[in-house]
């Protein structure tokens, strides 16, 4: 039971990271109907920007806690802004010229942008793994391992709390933006019918750009979380995380924001439990098999709307 609890905690943490990335996929898919293959690499770029800023500001575990939190908040904000510029640029250069073109063209440019981003980071930051010393090392012990010390000690580390809390706050803010602001309204309008939205005075290009900007900044938050949680990044992390997050988005029902979060949590939990109880090597196989099974039996995902086939 204790082991189960520990896996649950780890799974929710991992799921939050996937969920944050998945939102970028699901929003872009919802609004322009394309798989933004470069999104995983935007996440990776965000992670690298955060790493560079942390090293540049000289943040270490020795920094006083209050200062540490302030500095990390600063890193978060700057990384979100700069990653947003990357997301905007990718959209502007690789996707906007192909809007309204045939369906496979943006997919190929997305793959091209993904290859280019990966190799840009490899060239500019080097191919070596970048290990970061843990900034928060403490944790709460939820169980004490029994009187004789034979039980399993369940740890809830500060960093896990930080990740989950940040994710919840961001999700709240994000849901508010989508539901209650003009930007959110125009996004939903573009999602339903782009032509009609533009006839009614919504600036479609700007809305789409802002969608990419929002997706990229959430991905950079996920990047910072990933960096703090695992403590090591390289230029290749974007691919697997991206595919998993896309899986999460599809699992939850693509185009649906709560679906993306739910899908992220599920993928995180499946992966963690599979590694915990079966085998670590095949955790990706488990995640992908679940994806295939869900899609085959429920092609619209868990919370998505069924696609109506029109003649």
């Amino acid at each position: 039971m204790d082991y189960f609890l520990q896996q649950l905690i780890n799974g929710v943490t991992l799921g939050s990271i996937y969920g944050l990335i998945a939102i970028g996929y699901t929003m872009v898919y919802g609004i322009i109907g394309m798989i933004n293959f470069a999104h995983g690499d935007i996440f990776m770029v965000g992670s690298f920007i955060a790493l560079v800023l942390i090293v540049a500001l000289g943040i270490t575990a020795a920094t006083p806690v209050l200062l540490l939190i302030l500095a990390l908040a600063l890193v978060l904000v700057v990384a979100m802004a700069l990653t947003a510029v990357w997301g905007w640029t990718v959209e502007r250069v690789a996707y906007r010229p192909l809007r309204g073109s045939f369906r496979l063209a943006p997919l190929i440019t997305a793959i091209g942008a993904s290859i280019a981003l990966q190799n840009f980071v490899q060239v500019s930051q080097g191919a070596k793994n970048k290990p970061l010393q843990p900034l928060f090392s403490g944790s709460f012990q939820l169980t004490d391992g029994g009187a004789d010390g034979s039980g399993f000690i369940v740890n809830l580390s500060y960093i896990q709390i930080l990740i989950v809390v940040t994710t919840v706050i961001l999700m709240g803010g994000f849901t508010y933006i989508i539901n209650n602001t003009n930007l959110g309204r125009s996004q939903r309008a573009c999602e339903q019918d782009r032509k009609m939205a533009s006839l009614l005075g919504v600036n479609v290009d700007r809305t789409i750009s802002l969608t990419f900007v929002m997706g990229a900044s959430l991905a950079s938050v996920a990047g910072l979380m990933f960096l703090l949680y695992y403590g090591v990044i390289d230029f290749y992390i974007g691919f697997l995380a991206g595919v998993k997050a896309f899986t999460a988005a599809v699992l939850g029902g693509i185009g649906s924001l709560p679906g993306a979060m739910l899908g992220g949590l599920l993928i995180g939990l499946i992966e963690t439990f599979w590694s915990g109880y079966f085998s670590v090597e095949y955790k990706d196989v488990a995640a992908f098999s679940i994806l295939a099974i869900v899609l085959i039996f429920m092609p619209e995902g868990l919370l998505g709307q069924p696609e109506v086939e029109k003649v």
Binding site: Q122, Q125, V243, A292
Partner: protein, 444 residues
Amino acid sequence: MQARQKDSLLVASVKDSLGGAIITFALACVMIGLRVDVASGRGAELFLEHRWLAVAAAVVIVFAGRFAMNVFFWKREDPPSLNLSGFLPKGGLSTGTSSVLKYALLGLAVVLPFALMFWLGARGSRQYIDLAILVLTYVMLGWGLNIVVGLAGLLDLGYVAFYAVGAYSYALLAHYFGFSFWICLPLAGILAAFWGIILGFPVLRLRGDYLAIVTLAFGEIIRVVLLNWYQFTGGPDGLSGIPRPSFFGLEFTRGEGGFASFFGLDYSSIHRIIFLYYLIFAMALFTNFVTMRLRRMPIGRAWEALREDEIACRALGINTTTTKLTAFALGAMFAGFAGSFFATRQGFISPESFTFLESAIILAIVVLGGLGSQIGVVIAAIVMIGGFEFFREFEEYRMLVFGMIMVVIMVWKPRGLISSRTPSVALSKNAKGISADLVQEGHG
């Protein structure tokens, strides 16, 4: 109210270029200006390197470039027409030019090894023939994938899985049973086709992007299994010592009974390379021949009908299940052939060779060439793979350039380099090429 005064050419250009420069600075300031590196020695200390000069250079280049473009092209009332598309025939190739190009390329491919030998000698030509083999392998894979994506309109992002199945089938059959290449080649094709059907079954109901993502997942699953099934596949170490093919029983070895001594030639390692070249050339031509024939058969027409409109297709009584499965199976079969060729050529295979990147490159070749166009695949393979190998000196930068080129070509010609199609069925005898804009891309 007077309309807002329009900025003069110069002011507008400066404004726009400044915007570009600011964006460039935002992109570059952290990612280029600062580099995190790991200190060598004990402990993994991270330290920073500063490269502000590079950032300044990037900003200046972007500013100057945008400014020049603005002044001379974008913001002009009468931009001088620099018609890049003029280099390519308008609306694609007419059927005549296309067939001339086809025979020219075919002739070039036939004489290529000997021409290279003649010019560069056995030693100098080896790397170029090797490159030609690589290009032809991708041409074959592109033609195989063209059946699935170009003809049947099913978007497959896990094509490399079948390539891997073919390669591993041969390597494992040779490893465990000692089968030779010529027995394994058809077996590898059949096994890959079988996997094509197995993976095709569950995804029959899926459409478009869902199909793409599930095929991608299958590709990754096969790779992960190959990577972790250590006892059987050798895991990350791969399989080595895969036997080389023989020429009607003649091995390419030195001494008695070898190819060279049988024909009374001096032994040279180039013989095997040339043999491999003609082998993949024949296999690629076979792929093309089968595809072109199938296109004219009922099954090929069913594929194209499926691509154009699945519902209409079903309404006309075409069995979409078998149509999709045959497309998957045939595409997979050719990948299996190519895979076993890859295994015998390399003599060593590992899961490293079958990553998603390979799938992406093959798909890029098909789409860049012009979906459904056979000659387009050849041109795209030469441009992408040949160009890629050509820049071998710039090891670090070439993948970066490769990705950018993919974006640039696609933005420039979204329908691919060869964007005309000869209809498979036409009323008049002299069928004209039609623009690819009239061809659907399918919904999966």
